[in-house]
């Protein structure tokens, strides 16, 4: 058996080139020292020297000189020059400062400005001119530009072609993750037990808990117990993916449905995706996902059986509420179209042009409207689950796209557990990774654009809206969400690599056989999990994930290896509603009542629980209205404001690379900084207090050496606002060559007609 130890990065710091011991080499031209830092299994495919990386938009004086390499994992630009103008940049341990993972590349444009030619490079294409410039459009909205004025024309061309070839692989197994994991297995065969863990050692998230991956029976069983879903059971008929290749091996079904029935029913569902359970409300209402029944003759009968079973699993035997997502929500193509427009607006379009029409241009993308549509729909389902106490079945043709998003949003809104880092990660495992969201196709790792859709980003955006509206309700920060999005573009983590768990097993088993890797008892190769954040960030950098405003309900306690049953406070709002004595003096409501101030944190009265109206005629609208008129319990249900006034653009995510949008020493991060200091101070004080109270240090609760907060009291940044803070923090727009760069150079004229981010055809104007 393999140990579950997280793999350790095997490379050195990127800041310094590998130390040279040989003095002879030092006398060689400087450029020779520039060696790439490679991961296990990573090889350099091609490289070119004397490359200039463009930094500023309007001048070349800051440009960096160095070597551009293409490996089977990334494009790497290696330079000795320090990065100018940049005040801060968070470091990803897998990537150097100038690196772009191949899977993050969206489009490669080569330019020859003497011949006034340009070409978008596809895989296995020929290039009839020697490029003087290479522009890389990234999926994370960055645009990186290299110039080859001083480099060998042939090698420049070769590197460009190599990048084009390796970033657009024809086969899944050509993605770097396979090479990396294969290498790990080979290495570990020689060593003792150094196999990478598939599990997310939650230490990455900074919390002490491990993220359940829902690959095992016990994870599901624990989730059933946690939510108190008594009439549901884990079903293992899909072990070995015998029934469906796009369902997890274990999933949860109504207890009243026998395995035998399920097997029969399964044939009637698209993709054999029979209904499976997501989550249960403490009132017993369940959230269930289901694909369409394709067998028309059987449709009614099966549907009836399923609904009856779900009803039986409800303690009140309530009816089932069906929500047809295909009919009510935008489809994945529409979402993709919106995203393309949004990207164009945020990255590509000159500010001058959009100045007058910024808001309507934003509206025209439809992106915010779609965010709103999903939030609204999820909120309506919250009403059905919580107030009408009905079980909800999400119906979608395949049940692998919109269902992921809706199911996740409903759970984030209803269950505070999913607003913690570990909980949120487990939610993504449960509703996306295991439920067969097609990350491979939707993230378009293999560059076959027709199936691409940013649904996962849309989910992160919707979560951000909730975070924006309830800043103290989430354990994670918006930086965490942005970094999570970026992680989908790094082809190292098994989490975001496959279309289904089955695909991982199948493909990696094939790969293992071809590479002579002994798998033993394991089902496929274990890829590193994205939840093992220590692979990407240092412990210090990971503290940026923590929201200083968050106040946990209670520290999650793992006792004897099992998670203690989670209890939700029900009717939170009523328990926190405080007496409302309008301090009327001569009938005058004074200012102080705008926000109750005196004793504001102290409960004044304990009002009786909310009367539950017997009739179910109340509309969702009224439910929402009443909900909003009550004080919010951050550890109860959270509902979003969905009017146009409240849905906002996620600026950190979409504008972080735009130099013009950066506000030095400004932005929410400055408040974040102050709040972090405050939260850290509270932590320190509480720790001191506990020590005083307990006397000698407790054995059961070892004091964490490290603060939760990135900015710490007494730390170097405590005195004033650190100079490196800006509204883009921790990202740095330096070196991102966006719109203005293009209009500011001679290149502008002939690039101005090009529609970047659009289809390849429009740009392939060579010859």
């Amino acid at each position: 058996m393999f140990s579950l130890k997280p793999p350790r990065p095997t490379f050195r710091s990127y800041l310094l080139p590998p130390p040279q011991t040989d003095d002879k080499i030092n006398s060689e031209p400087k450029i020779k020292k520039l060696e790439p830092v490679l991961l296990p299994g990573e090889i350099v495919v091609n490289e070119v020297n004397f490359v200039r990386k463009c930094i500023a938009t309007d001048t070349s004086q800051y440009d960096l000189w160095g070597k551009l390499i293409c490996s089977n994992f990334k494009i790497s630009f290696i330079t000795d020059d320090p990065m100018p103008l940049q005040k801060f940049h968070y470091r990803n341990l897998l990537l150097g400062e100038h690196d772009v993972p191949l899977t993050c590349i969206e489009q490669i444009v080569t330019v020859n400005d003497h011949k006034r030619k340009q070409k978008v490079l596809g895989p296995n294409q020929k290039l009839k001119f020697n490029p003087t410039e290479l522009i890389i459009y990234c999926k994370d909205f960055r645009i990186v530009r290299f110039r080859f004025d001083e480099s060998g024309p042939e090698s420049a061309k070769k590197v460009c072609l190599a990048i084009a070839h390796y970033s657009q692989p024809t086969d899944l197994q050509l993605l770097f993750a396979f090479e990396y994991v294969g290498k790990k297995y080979h290495n570990s065969a020689n060593n003792i037990n150094g196999i990478p863990s598939g599990g997310g050692s939650g230490a990455g998230g900074g919390s002490s808990q491990k993220t359940p991956l829902f690959e095992t029976y016990s994870d599901w069983d624990r989730e059933i117990k946690r939510t108190g879903a008594s009439a549901w059971r884990v079903c293992s008929i899909n072990e070995g993916y015998m029934i469906s290749t796009c369902l997890p091996e274990y999933f949860v079904v109504p207890s009243s449905l026998a395995d035998q029935d399920l097997k029969i029913f399964s044939h009637s569902f698209v993709g054999r995706r029979m209904p499976f359970w997501c989550w249960s409300h403490s009132n017993g209402s369940a959230l269930v996902r289901m694909a369409l029944i394709k067998d028309v003759l059987q449709q009614r009968k099966i549907d009836q059986r399923i609904c009856n079973a779900i009803t039986k699993s409800h303690p009140q035997r309530s009816d089932v509420y069906k929500s047809d997502l295909d009919k009510t929500l935008p489809n994945i193509q529409e979402i993709q179209a919106a995203f393309v427009k949004l990207k164009h607006l945020c990255v590509d379009e000159p500010f001058e042009e959009t100045e007058e029409k910024w808001l309507s241009s934003l509206e025209n993308t439809r992106w915010l409207e779609y965010v709103r549509a999903f939030l609204k729909h999820a909120a309506e389902l919250v009403y059905v689950l919580e107030s009408k106490r009905l079980s909800v079945v999400l119906q979608e043709e395949e049940g692998r796209d919109l269902s992921c998003m809706v199911a996740s949003l409903v759970q984030v809104m209803l269950d505070p557990h999913f607003r913690t880092i570990t909980g949120f990660q487990s939610l993504i495992q449960k509703e996306w990774v295991m439920a067969g969201y097609q990350f491979l196709d939707r993230c378009n790792h293999l560059k076959r654009s027709e199936k691409e859709s940013p649904l996962f980003l849309l989910f992160l955006d919707a979560t951000w809206q909730l975070l924006e509206q309830y800043p103290a309700a989430f354990e994670f920060s918006e930086t965490y969400l942005a970094i999570l999005y970026d992680s989908t573009h790094i082809s190292l983590f098994g989490t975001f690599l496959f279309n289904s768990p089955h695909q991982r097993v199948k493909q990696s088993t094939e790969f293992a056989i071809s590479k002579n890797i002994q798998l033993g008892d394991e089902k496929g190769l274990k890829f590193p999990s994205v939840w093992d954040w220590s692979l990407q960030f240092t412990a210090k950098d990971r503290t940026l994930f923590h929201n200083p405003l968050y106040i946990g309900k209670s520290t999650p306690c793992v006792q004897n290896g099992s998670v203690k049953a989670f209890k939700r406070t029900k009717k939170g709002y009523s328990s926190t509603l405080r007496g409302m004595p309008a301090s009327l003096k001569n009938g005058i409501v004074t200012d102080q009542d705008l926000v109750p101030r005196r004793n504001s944190l102290i409960l004044k009265g304990k009002p009786e629980p909310l009367p539950q109206p017997g009739g179910q005629a109340r509309g969702a609208e009224q439910y929402l209205r009443e909900w909003f008129s009550r004080p919010v319990d951050l550890h109860g249900a959270l509902l979003p404001h969905v009017s146009g006034t409240h849905v906002k653009l996620w600026k950190l995510c979409y504008f972080r690379w735009v130099p013009e949008a950066q506000i030095s020493l400004g932005g929410f991060i400055t408040a974040f900084h102050r709040l972090s200091l405050l939260a850290d101070e509270v932590d320190v004080l509480r720790r001191t207090l506990r020590q005083h109270r307990a006397g000698p240090p407790e054995a059961r609760c070892p004091e964490p050496d490290q603060s939760r907060m990135y900015f710490r009291v007494g730390g170097p940044q405590a005195a004033g606002t650190p100079e490196f803070l800006s509204s883009s923090f921790p990202f740095s727009p330096v070196g991102n060559l966006c719109r203005r760069s293009i209009s500011g150079t001679p290149l502008s004229k002939f690039l101005s007609g090009a529609k970047i981010w659009l289809s390849t055809e429009t740009l392939a104007n060579e010859d």
Partner: protein, 660 residues
């Protein structure tokens, strides 16, 4: 009172704008100063108070079966819909309000009857809180280049200017008077802000009467003098804040703008801020968007864009940024004007000052800024905000825009301001409330003639007294951010400016989450302070007790221990033995409540607002956190674990819920 036709109407319904079904039944009262609606619901008797001066429009709608609807729009963006059963009553209320909302004499305004029960001395002190001569001293004036001029003594030169003004030392009275004759309404160039670090300054004036070719030697000398007052630079910027077209149109009327050829060493610059009529219409359009019930994304974004409001805000900000950069980075003095130099000029000068000088980002500094660039330089409060019945075309949200600019800056630099959003909202409220004398009339001269300071109270003193409410908990004096100039990107970034729902939608149920973070922090801060005070009081008491105890033991040395203790608790029953006792005593502790006994009728709030504004505060009361530790009021501290309490709550709630 003679205007009130009917002082009381019963069975009136106040319609909840969001849910049209729900309407509160109650009684409507008309008083000399307020419209008051009192709900019938016996447990709450919720009251809604509206100042007459806040009423913007009253609309009588078609009578329906349920009664006669009356729609009242307020200048602070509150919207009230009443349904009055009898058409006759409705008409009476309507006619009365029309008159009450449009007073014709200053004496009818609320401030002349408002009496916060302060004695004469307190009132006078209140008026002394903000002192402009102190402010010029703070800037470092007078000095070698600038001096106080008495040329406008008794408003001899310009009746809309203050009497005390700073002008370049080299500008003689002759030059000033000559220049004033060449400027609209004789508003000659005078100092608005002096940047100590490099001697650059911001001066302000009205447009020159240049027409197509007219010149004025004194005016040219005046600008020369301003340039000379800044030895570090050989030219000055002249910024005309109007769109070029407007300025050119003015030339036909014998007004216009400076000709670069006639003035030596000036650089002339247009910054197109639209006029008051455009701004008024723009606000109107934006408010229509605000009134939409749950607007869709496209309703909202299109509506907001079509209103042009944010574009106008940006134009003002851009002008301010331009001037601040010229002064701080280039070290060049700037002369700013528009047409009369009292609207756009005031906006732009104060935005620039705010960007340049951290002092104006403090609570007191901000009051000084308004006093300087708005009140003293003759911004026409009465005309712009319609305090007295007048020409509706004069009304325009000029200072509202400035206040919004400040808010936009606060959003971009959340830690750079000492005050919070509420401070801005309250100032906006009082611009229309006519409750205090500061923001009345069209000029200093008018205020003096009315003897405002003798007859009314100062807003600044009132705000200062309640300053605890207005503090931004994120602000620190030692911040690098709170020192020096605020730097904003100057490239066209429309997305930097956003809709201020905290202002325009503030009477809606929606809450503003970010701001509630601030509120939350403030509550924590207050709480801490209160507990601090309690601790002190307790320590004092403890000390006293120990002394007494000592005496007791001395006197009754032979007495047995238990009886000694019981003797204590009876003799001094304020000793906190249990949490209950403790909380019972709390009221007797010194409390720094700023609003206690305060008669401020300022913000008329409905209870819905109370509710919607507090969730953040309440939501955390049962959490294991530092915050909760504060709310755990046990004097014995350690033994009473916060979780105990909340744990119980949780369980009992769960039980109730399950049985329900």
């Amino acid at each position: 009172m003679e205007h009130i036709r009917t002082p009381k109407v019963e069975n009136v319904r106040l319609v909840d704008r969001i849910s049209s079904k729900k309407a509160a039944l109650g009684t409507l009262y008309l008083t000399a100063t307020h419209v008051i609606f009192v709900e019938n619901a016996p447990d709450t008797r919720k009251e809604t108070w509206i100042l007459h001066s806040q009423i913007s429009t009253i609309e009588k709608q078609a009578t329906a079966a349920t009664g006669c609807p009356l729609l009242i729009r307020c200048k602070n963006f509150q919207l009230l819909q009443l349904i009055i059963p009898q058409e006759r009553d409705c008409h009476d209320v309507y006619i009365s309000l029309i008159r009450l909302a449009r007073p014709v004499k200053y004496e009818e305004l609320y401030c002349f009857s408002f009496n916060p029960k302060l004695d004469k001395e307190e009132r006078e002190q209140g008026w002394m809180l903000i002192d402009l001569s102190e402010e010029y001293k703070r800037m470092g004036l007078p000095n070698n280049y600038w001096q106080l001029s008495d040329v406008n003594r008794d408003y001899r030169v310009c009746d809309s200017y203050p009497t005390e003004l700073y002008v370049p030392k080299s500008a003689t009275a002759h030059i000033i008077v000559g220049s004033s004759k060449f400027r609209s309404r004789r508003r000659f160039p005078a100092l608005s802000y002096y940047y100590r670090d490099n001697h650059a300054s911001i001066c302000r004036s009205s447009q020159p009467l240049s027409g197509f070719s007219a010149r004025c030697l004194e005016d040219e000398q005046m600008l020369q003098a301003i340039r000379k007052a800044n030895p570090g630079s050989d030219f000055i910027y002249v910024v005309d804040t109007r769109p070029k077209l407007n300025a050119m149109a003015n030339r036909a009327a014998g007004k216009g703008y400076e000709n670069e050829d006639n003035y030596s060493n000036i650089k002339f610059q247009f910054i197109g801020i639209e006029n008051i009529h455009v701004m008024r219409n723009s606000l109107q359009k934006m408010l229509e968007v605000c009134e939409l019930k749950s607007p869709s994304m496209s309703d909202f974004l299109w509506g907001l864009e079509n209103s042009g409001w944010l574009r106008h805000i940006k134009a003002i900000m851009d002008a301010g940024i331009f001037i601040a950069k010229a002064v701080s980075e280039e070290g060049v003095s700037v002369l700013v004007h528009c047409s009369d130099g009292w609207d756009r000029t005031a906006q732009v000068c104060s935005v620039a000052s705010l960007l340049l000088d951290p002092h104006y980002r403090t609570l007191k500094g901000f009051m000084v800024l308004i006093e300087k660039d708005w009140i003293s330089f003759g911004h026409k409060f009465n005309h712009r905000y319609g305090n007295l019945d007048g020409d509706p075309k004069e009304i325009s949200p000029v200072i509202d825009q400035f206040i919004e600019c400040v808010w936009q800056l606060m959003e971009q630099f959340p830690c750079a301001f000492e005050f919070n959003e509420r401070f801005l909202i309250h100032i906006q409220h009082h611009i229309y409330s006519c409750q205090f004398g500061n923001l009345l009339c069209n000029s200093q001269k008018e205020r003096q003639e009315l003897r405002i300071q003798e007859r009314t109270y100062s807003l600044w003193a009132h705000l200062w007294k309640n300053r605890a409410d207005y503090m931004n908990p994120l602000f620190r004096d030692d911040h690098s951010q709170t020192r020096g100039t605020l730097r904003l990107p100057t490239t066209p970034c429309n997305f930097l400016y956003k809709f201020w729902s905290g202002m325009y939608n503030r009477f809606e149920k929606g809450l503003q989450p970010r701001q509630s973070v601030t509120d939350y922090l403030m509550a924590v801060k207050e709480e801490t302070q209160q507990l601090e005070e309690e601790r002190e009081a307790l320590e004092e008491r403890l000390e006293k007790i120990q002394k007494v105890q000592l005496n007791h033991t001395k006197v009754k040395a032979k007495q047995s221990e238990p009886s000694k203790h019981s003797g204590f608790s009876t003799s001094d029953n304020s000793t906190a033995n249990t949490p209950q006792d403790y909380s019972g005593n709390m009221k007797s502790f010194p409390s720094r409540s700023p609003s206690q006994g305060d008669e401020d009728s300022a913000l008329i709030l409905t209870q819905d607002n109370l509710k919607s504004s507090d969730p953040d505060l309440s939501a955390n009361s049962d959490q294991e956190s530092g915050v909760e530790d504060l709310s755990c009021r046990s004097p014995s501290g350690g033994e009473c674990a916060p979780s105990e309490d909340s744990g119980k709550d949780r369980d009992s709630d769960e039980a109730v819920f399950l049985t329900a």
